[in-house]
Amino acid sequence: MLTDREIISTLEMLENEHLDVRTVTLGINLFECASHDPQKVKNKIFSRITHFAKNLVAVCNRIGEKYGIPVVNKRIAVSPIAVVGAALSSSQMVDIAKTLDAVAEEVNVDFIGGFSALVQKGIARGDRALIEAIPQALTATERVCASINVASTRAGINMDAVLLMGHTIKQAAKLTAEKDGLACAKLCVFANIPEDIPFMAGAYLGIGEADAVINMGVSGPGVVKMAIDRALEANPDLDLGQISELIKKTAYKVTRVGELIGREVADSLKIPFGVVDLSLAPTPNVGDSVGEIFQSLGLLSIGVPGTTAALALLNDAVKKGGAFASSRVGGLSGAFIPVSEDLNISEAVRKGYLSLDKLEAITSVCSVGLDMVAIPGDTSAETIAAIIADEMAIGVINNKTTATRLIPVPGKKAGDSAYFGGLLGQSTIIPVNNAQEPNRFVRHGGLIPAPIQSLTN
């Protein structure tokens, strides 16, 4: 017998607090599609993906309806295309991207990730072909997402790759200038990229994974915020330890949803269940914001002093609650701070509470990094590379994942608005200091060596 409290609190989470399964991401291994013949590669990719994914959307909808919890997005993540297409040229890589786009449309998923390369130690021929293809590929397609891993704690930071990505990002922005640089919103640069992220744009299927896998991304910043608000209303004297405990329990509940639905989707599709990524991922919808959590915790806005400490508390509590809730936790699993995707965070930028420097600081205690940050269009490629390098350093030295998804919006400057649409949201362009001056440091290139803490053997 269920108690009425259990039922009513669960329904509250679903109806008013935006509890949902943010994504079911089907990872598909494409290594057997490798070939010297680009046409063979395309055909094999198309048929392999449709084979695994043809029922994905229907099954997710059916199970979502059974539990009354919407599965908001269905996505696909494939093996890094730089490896699958290692024998191909840059223009052939663009064709592969178009094939991925076509098959994503065929099976009706909203994004397909894995147009990726891992270059933390060096750039191989296939990697370079892919990276050169990125601006064109992300312009010509709608659903394809790309991620490049340029650094790791074990390997160090590949500064040649970092500089190359600075230029690639500028080029991608230029080609999609009339859409405010939209191509860049589908491109992430990583340090220590996890192999099983279900969220875009970083999702790809790691090399140690099986033929296919189901990874889940849950979310519920609204649920966490409401839980904090209710608790503080009942007892304004709660201390931070008690608040942390409350967040932990709430994160437990949210993650349980992912575990239940993920396992059932995996069972139905007869595909192994991978991980639950228990990240707090916001959307531009009202009440679905991570930024608002900071206000509930007592800060005027995300970005003011106290933000980093609050985020440390939040991120840690989320991980602890989520870890207990699922047997397999993976991906990024923490709080996301995607500037344009969260109404409250982009407001904080507009009002001047949240600067690029503060964003960089908080990435030392949260999952994602400089995510969906719109910067002035005339920021130089070298400066972009330098911003990336800073972010990679935080990840490498602290043995954590960090990433950048920077969008230099052509023709716009700090304070202007950039509009990306849908889940990608909109945002005020954030100022960058010293944006156009030359940057001799990044032009040195080479490899910043792996830090001593990587010598753990």
Partner: protein, 184 residues
């Protein structure tokens, strides 16, 4: 041993279950199963009892009435039919139907009619009507077993249509989600 179900109704107070159990013990009856609820101020209890072969239902009724007279409890005794299994077939899935909305006559009748029409069994019902228009004050929670062979989409549609007529918001979900979120 013959089995009976004993229902007891009356104004709630401490001591009712003790009094009943004592009488049953003195009559050499064995309590096999008990369920007891308090609805607002009223006590309602059901006891499945096995009686010794030499005790009749009338005798048991008299014994209970005598000792419970002071408490003003209403007693009813009925034989329990011999059944190997309960009504619930193993081919049913547990769901929870919850409604919220302004109070009015006919809410339980309306929803339960649809549930009955589809051959769905209610295993537990909690309903609290505080009255008025505040939707949070009038909640019905039906735990039901839906046979796997009925068209669940159709059932769902019929429920939603009825809920709309009754100005109720309704949600229908598999039971597992509530257990999974709230229990370890």
């Amino acid at each position: 041993m013959n089995k009976v179900i004993l229902s007891v109704l009356g104004h709630d107070r401490p001591g009712i279950v003790a009094a009943i159990a004592n009488i049953l013990f003195e009559c050499s009856c064995n309590i096999e199963s008990v369920s007891q609820t308090i609805l607002k101020t009223e006590f309602s209890g059901s006891f499945i009892i096995s009686m010794p072969p030499d005790l009749t239902q009338e005798e048991l009724r008299q014994a209970l009435n005598e000792d419970l007279a002071a408490m003003n409890m209403h007693i009813h005794i009925e034989s329990v039919l011999k059944q190997k299994t309960g009504l619930v077939s193993s081919n049913a899935e547990p769901f929870v139907i919850t409604t919220k909305g302004p109070d009015r006559k006919g809410l339980v009748a309306g929803i339960s009619a649809i549930i009955a029409r589809y051959g769905v069994n209610i295993t537990n019902l909690q309903a609290v009507f505080k009255g008025g228009d505040e939707p949070g004050n009038n909640i019905m929670i039906y735990e039901v077993d839906i046979p796997v062979d009925i068209d669940r989409k159709d059932f769902s549609r019929a429920l939603r249509a009825k809920a709309k007529i009754l100005a109720l918001s309704i949600s229908i979900q598999h039971r597992n989600i509530f257990e999974t979120i709230n229990r370890i």
